[in-house]
Symmetry: C2
Subunit: 331 residues, 2 copies
DNA sequence: GTCTATACAGTTATCGCTAAAGAAAGGCCG
DNA sequence: CGGCCTTTCTTTAGCGATAACTGTATAGAC
C-alpha cells in the first residue's frame, strides 16, 4: 500500500479507502489505485486488517467427530454459506469430550473468531463454557445437540420426532417387541429415547426395561449392544438404533447370529449417513438433512454477527424424514 | 499487557518478555508478571503477535473431499501432531477440482498460513500453483497424490505397489480374468493401474483392454463401471477397484445382478475406509495408514517450517498393507 | 581505580492497516 | 461577498504485540 501511495503521489489513506471502495474516493482515483495495485500484485494483509478492525472473518465450527459423515456434511453446508461471504472456517474436533471441547473453544476464542457453530458435547447448559461465551459476547449457534437448560440459538431436528417416526415405522411393519439401542445422555440420545417411548405408548405397546440398552455413537458399541439384546427372551423383533453407525454395528451382530434382517429382526437407524445404502443390509433411517442444518446455522450465525445487539435466542427445527430401505421392510 | 505493566510498575516490554519466558527477565519479576497476568485473566492477542512476528501458527490442509473418510483420517493425524505445537489447522475442500484448489490455496496464502499440506487435485506439477508456492517461499508438503514432474516434499503410499498387492492377491485366490475399475488420471489412479498391469504380466496373465474401465472416486461411479463390466463376455472373475467407495458401489452392482461375491466375482478396493467392514460383503482392501500419512506429513512440514533454508525435497513412502476380508476370500 | 562482562530492564520504531477528525477546493445561497 | 455545505483527500493516532537497541547496576579482573 505504501508503494502504491508513493507511486501515485497520494496518501496512504487514499489507497486504503480506494481498495475498500470507500465512498470518500473519486471514481477516477479509485480506478488508478486499483489498477496500480493489480500491477504491483498487491495482496491485502488480513492480519493487519484484523488488528485494526477487530474482525477476523473467521468462524469456528466445533464438532465431536469429523469421521462421522453427518458432521462432515454439516461442515460442507457451513462452508457453502460462509465462503462466499469471505469467511474462513476453522473446524475443531472435540472427540465427544466436554473438556476437549472447552479447550478447543478457548483456543478459537484466543484466536478471536468472529463467531462459532457448535455441536456441543456438554450435557449441561449451565457449563462454564457457555457463560464464557456470553461474557465475551461472541455470537454462537448450537447445532444438533441442545445442552439442557440453555437459552441459545439452535438449529437441529426434533429428536423426539425422530424417535417417534422410526418407532412408528417399525410398528407399521408389524414389529411388536421393539427394542432401542440408546445413545449418550445428551439431548439427541434423550430425545430419541423419549420418542421411542411415546410412539409405543401411543400404540398400546410396552417394552420391558431390558429392551433399552446403552450404546455410544460408533458401530462397535452398536455391535456389543445388539449382542446383549439377542440374548434376551423373548427376542425383540425390531430395533431402533440411536444412529446409523450404531445400526450398522447392530446389523453385523444380527447377521453373525445367523438371523435375517429384516425378517427376524427389523432395524432402523438415524442420520442417513452417506454409505447407508451400501451396508450389509441397506439401512432404513431417519434423515436429518445434515447439510441443510449446516447452511441454516451459517445463515443464523451470519445474522447474529451483523446485528449489533444479540437477538433473542432463536430455535430452528428442521423436519426429519423417514427413509425406508431394506433393513426394516417387512411388508 | 499495558495494565499489567502499570500495576506492577514495570515497562510494557518487561511484561512482554516475561510472558514469553525471555531470558532477559529475572525469575522474580517473571513470576510477579505471570501471577498478575493470571489474576487479570490476560489472553495474548494472536493477531497482534502475528503481525509483529510474521508467523501465524496456522497451517492449511487442502484435501479433495472431507466426506471421504480417508481424508478425514488424514486430517486427524495432522491435527494430532500440530495441535500440541500450538498450531491451528484450517481445512480446505477442493472438491477434486484443480481450480477450486488453486483458489482455496490463494485464500490460505492471503491469510498467511505458515505452511501447507496438500492432497492436490492438480494432475500436473508444472501448474502455476506450485510456482506461486515456491515464489512465496511457503513450506508445503504434498500427500497422497504426486502431480507429475514436481520436485516437492511428499508423503504417501507407492500406488503401483498397492496395485500389485491387490492384483496378486486376486491371482492367489484363483482369479484369472481380472478387471480394473481405474481412478482418475492423477498419480494414484495411474500408479494403481500400472501395478495392476505389472502384477498380471508377472504372472503371465493378460486382460483384454475392455477389462479396464474408468471410474471416479465415489461409489456411484463404481456401480456404473461394474455394470459395464458385467456385460462383458467372458465376465471377469475378479476386480481390483481404485478405492473402497468405488468397490462398495461395485459390490452393489454385482449383488443386484444376482451374483455372489466373492465366488462369482472377487472384489478388492484400496484405502481401508472405516466402514469397509460393515459393507454388504466385508471389503478386502489395501490399507494406506491414513492417519500415519497425516502424522508423517505434519512432522515433515514442521521440520520445513523451522529450517531457515528449504531442505531438498524428501519423499516418504509408507508401505501398504493387504487387508483380506470376505469380498475376495475364495480359498 | 579503571575496565569489561553479565544480568536485567527500558526506549524506540515498526508490523500493515483503519477510524476519526481535519483540511483544501469548489459550488451554492442569500 | 461571506458563510455553509460537499466532495475528496490528508493527518493523526492507534490496534496489541515484538525486534533490536540502548541504558544501568553489580561483580569480578587486572
Amino acid at each position: 500500500m505504501k508503494d502504491i501511495a508513493r507511486d501515485l503521489g497520494v496518501s496512504l489513506m487514499t489507497v486504503s479507502k480506494a481498495l475498500r471502495n470507500h465512498s470518500d474516493i473519486s471514481e477516477q482515483t479509485r480506478k488508478r489505485v486499483l489498477k496500480h495495485a493489480r500491477q504491483l500484485g498487491y495482496q491485502p494483509n488480513w492480519i493487519a486488517r484484523s488488528l485494526a478492525t477487530r474482525r477476523t472473518y473467521v468462524v469456528g465450527l466445533v464438532i465431536p467427530d469429523l469421521m462421522h459423515s453427518f458432521f462432515a456434511e454439516v461442515a460442507k453446508g457451513v462452508a457453502r454459506k460462509f465462503e462466499p461471504l469471505g469467511y474462513q472456517i476453522v473446524i475443531s474436533n472435540s472427540e465427544e469430550k466436554a473438556e476437549v471441547e472447552e479447550r478447543q473453544i478457548e483456543l478459537l476464542l484466543a484466536r478471536s473468531v468472529d463467531g462459532l457453530i457448535v455441536a456441543s458435547a456438554q450435557a449441561n447448559g449451565r457449563s462454564g463454557l457457555f457463560q464464557t461465551l456470553r461474557a465475551r459476547k461472541v455470537p454462537f449457534v448450537l447445532i444438533d445437540r441442545l445442552p439442557a437448560g440453555l437459552g441459545a440459538h439452535y438449529v437441529g431436528v426434533n429428536d423426539e420426532e425422530i424417535g417417534v417416526l422410526a418407532t412408528e415405522h417399525l410398528i407399521e411393519q408389524g414389529c411388536r417387541r421393539i427394542a432401542h439401542i440408546r445413545g449418550p445422555a445428551i439431548s439427541t440420545g434423550i430425545g430419541r429415547l423419549r420418542g421411542y417411548r411415546r410412539a409405543q405408548a401411543k400404540h398400546g405397546l410396552k417394552a420391558p426395561p431390558e429392551y433399552v440398552v446403552s450404546g455410544r455413537h460408533d458401530d462397535p458399541s452398536g455391535y456389543e449392544a445388539m449382542r446383549d439384546l439377542l440374548r434376551l427372551n423373548p427376542r425383540p423383533d425390531g430395533v431402533f438404533c440411536y444412529n446409523d453407525p450404531v445400526a450398522a454395528g447392530a446389523i453385523k451382530a444380527v447377521l453373525e447370529a445367523g438371523l435375517n434382517v429384516p425378517h427376524d429382526l427389523a432395524i432402523i437407524g438415524a442420520g442417513n449417513v452417506h454409505y447407508s445404502d451400501l451396508l450389509r443390509v441397506p439401512l432404513s433411517t431417519v434423515d436429518q438433512s445434515s447439510s441443510l442444518i449446516g447452511e441454516t446455522a451459517a445463515d443464523l450465525l451470519a445474522q447474529c454477527m451483523e446485528a449489533k445487539t444479540q437477538p433473542t435466542p432463536k430455535r430452528i427445527w428442521i423436519p426429519p424424514r423417514l427413509v425406508v430401505r431394506e433393513s426394516s421392510r417387512r411388508i
